[in-house]
Chain length 199, copies 2
């Protein structure tokens, strides 16, 4: 049996432990017992911080979403040509994904069985739609190649961006920096998606 | 209780049912009971066809791998400039992925707890390495942009290709054809990855 340690958790540090367990076992497969074991404190200590695992999910997903939606309000994302704004949003989305890796990983893996999961999926779709709208505007401006359908281009762009959670492990020897990865995504995607000669 | 139906399964049709259940519940979360219910035949009828669920996994994964590795032996994948071979392999990988969607989906989701799962992961890595070698050769030929690291480029290329399993649903109204998706992936990736002016 694990000795319970004194509860010195802050909301943030408890959340970090919970997100790790959610990502490893899946949210559905995680019980309060699992969280208690991973944190090394009793279930009632956890209940002192939050109402239950669904609140931890909501807090974790909020952290990911706040980071992503904040990008859309940055000056470079709101002014200028759509293609430049799209390119900026792509770069910053990759950076937020890497800075908030476990939180965004959780967001991308959530499948809706509870209200919180359905809300997460809804908000994620909303973010995707905002980016898709930028992409459509850039296409209408003639700044993206006309021979790739805008819906397909959006899916492939997010496919590339979101795949980063599958392999990026910060701090590993030889790991690329956040900037190198963001540069690679932007170069790969945009030298392809921009109409040649117009960038 | 479900009425058991007469066992008219062929190895292929039983496999198709099993793969659907594996993809829905996860391989770990699937019992012989689940397979029996989904197929509508008794467990002993299933055992008449295969030794157990691990054999079904092996058969399903083999089908995905056979399709993928066959691409590497096609004439367009073995002769000519590396960049053209890489582009051909990219297109054909997307096509195989869409033609064998449930089987490749299973391959991409497998995590190694059993011998068969570890073998699947090993063979998948082998495929990825074969493609990565082509990409490195194309970079060495000067046909890919030098400002994206070859390892990162490989990961992003597979990120884009593999993301197709997340959203492609054949036969849906308005769904893109296999050729449209393959074209989009190749255009998006290669107009980006090729050194400008050399394609």
């Amino acid at each position: 049996m694990t000795m319970a340690k004194r509860d010195t958790y802050t909301p943030e540090s408890l959340l970090a432990v919970a997100v790790e367990v959610f990502n490893e076992r899946g949210y559905d497969g995680t019980s309060m017992e699992h969280l208690s074991k991973a944190a090394g404190i009793s279930k009632s200590s956890i209940y002192h911080h939050v109402k239950g695992k669904e609140e931890l999910l909501r807090l974790a997903i909020s952290r990911a979403l706040d980071g992503l939606f904040a990008v859309l309000d940055e000056p470079e994302a709101t002014g200028g040509r759509a293609v430049d704004r799209l390119q900026y949003v792509t770069r910053r989305t990759v950076e937020v994904l890497m800075a908030e890796l476990p939180y965004v990983t959780l967001l991308l893996r959530v499948r809706g069985n509870t209200d919180t999961e359905r809300w997460a999926m809804e908000r994620r779709r909303e973010f995707d739609h905002r980016v898709a709208d930028l992409l459509k505007q850039a296409a209408a401006d003639g700044d993206l190649r006309a021979d790739v359908d805008a819906r397909l281009a959006t899916r492939l762009l997010f496919g590339m961006i979101n795949s980063v959670v599958e392999w990026y492990r910060p701090g590993h020897g030889g790991a690329a920096t956040s900037e190198e990865v963001a540069d690679a995504v932007v170069l790969t995607a945009f030298a392809g998606l921009r109409t040649p000669g117009r960038d």
